[in-house]
């Protein structure tokens, strides 16, 4: 029996906004991570889900044409960031994974505390986005 094709116009229009909102919130969560609840893992999952709702609302092919990214590469780059931060402190003669922080005056944002741990978190973020999307898309693509 063939189901009639549902009309998901509303969903598709709404998802465009919702996805952006989720994405923005995920970035907030990622940056809040150092001293508040949040961080690379949660931010990464959130970003992955913001992309996934797009895949849900539209079909795989459409989104594949729009987002031409190989998410597996994200895992490699992310791990590189994470271990890289550890190694950099080693190159300066400190112990592995030693982290540094300082406060900076940035335009618009005002006084911001930046840490090298943020770079590590960025690595985690990229790994989580890459891994979550790779897993889910791989299973989804196999449906034939």
């Amino acid at each position: 029996m063939k189901w009639p094709r549902p009309n998901n116009m509303m969903l598709q229009v709404a998802i465009r906004f919702i996805s952006l909102i989720i994405f923005a919130f995920s970035i907030y969560l990622f940056l809040a991570g150092h001293n508040n609840p949040g961080g690379g893992f949660i931010g990464g999952l959130m970003t992955a889900s913001s992309l996934l709702v797009l895949y849900l609302a539209f079909d795989m092919k459409t989104i594949k044409d729009v987002i031409r990214l190989n998410f597996t590469v994200f895992i490699g780059i992310g791990l590189l960031f994470a271990v890289g931060t550890g190694i950099i402190s080693m190159l300066f003669g400190y112990q592995f994974l030693k982290h540094f922080f300082d406060t900076f005056q940035l335009p618009i944002f005002g006084e911001v505390e930046l840490t090298t741990a943020l770079l590590f978190d960025l690595g985690v973020y990229l790994v989580v986005v890459g891994a979550a999307l790779t897993i889910i898309l791989n299973i989804a693509e196999d449906e034939k």
């Binding site: 001293n35 893992f41 897993i135 791989n138 196999d142």
Partner: protein, 112 residues
């Protein structure tokens, strides 16, 4: 409170064991994941279920919760997440290739 959680952990382990002993792959996967949830709950309970302020924010709170178990289960949950994803994909592939999800039939025999 600790006793209630301990009972909960016991129930989770019991259900997990029951599911693990069944034949269908998906039930087994659910069983392992319940098992790991029980382990995570146990870790957080072992740190003490205190209602204090989170340990990160400031030095103002008079009571604070032990941060280490939280860090531990965060790691454990992430690992569990990855492993569960892997097992799901693996079981799906096994099902496709062997055309059965019954572990009894996946026993493996000498002549193949």
């Amino acid at each position: 409170m600790e006793i209630l959680v301990a009972i909960l952990i016991g129930i989770l382990v019991a259900i997990g064991t029951y599911l693990l002993l069944s034949k269908e792959m998906l039930r087994i996967i659910l069983g392992i994941s319940l098992f790991s949830h029980a382990a995570n709950l146990l870790i957080i309970t072992m740190g003490g279920l205190k209602t204090g302020s989170p340990p990160l924010l400031s030095e103002e709170g008079s009571t604070f919760t032990d941060a280490l178990p939280q860090a531990l289960i965060l790691t454990a949950i992430v690992i569990n997440f990855a492993v569960t994803a892997l097992v799901l994909v693996l079981s799906y592939r096994t099902y496709k290739k062997n055309r059965t999800d019954n572990m009894e039939k996946l026993r493996g025999n000498e002549h193949e």
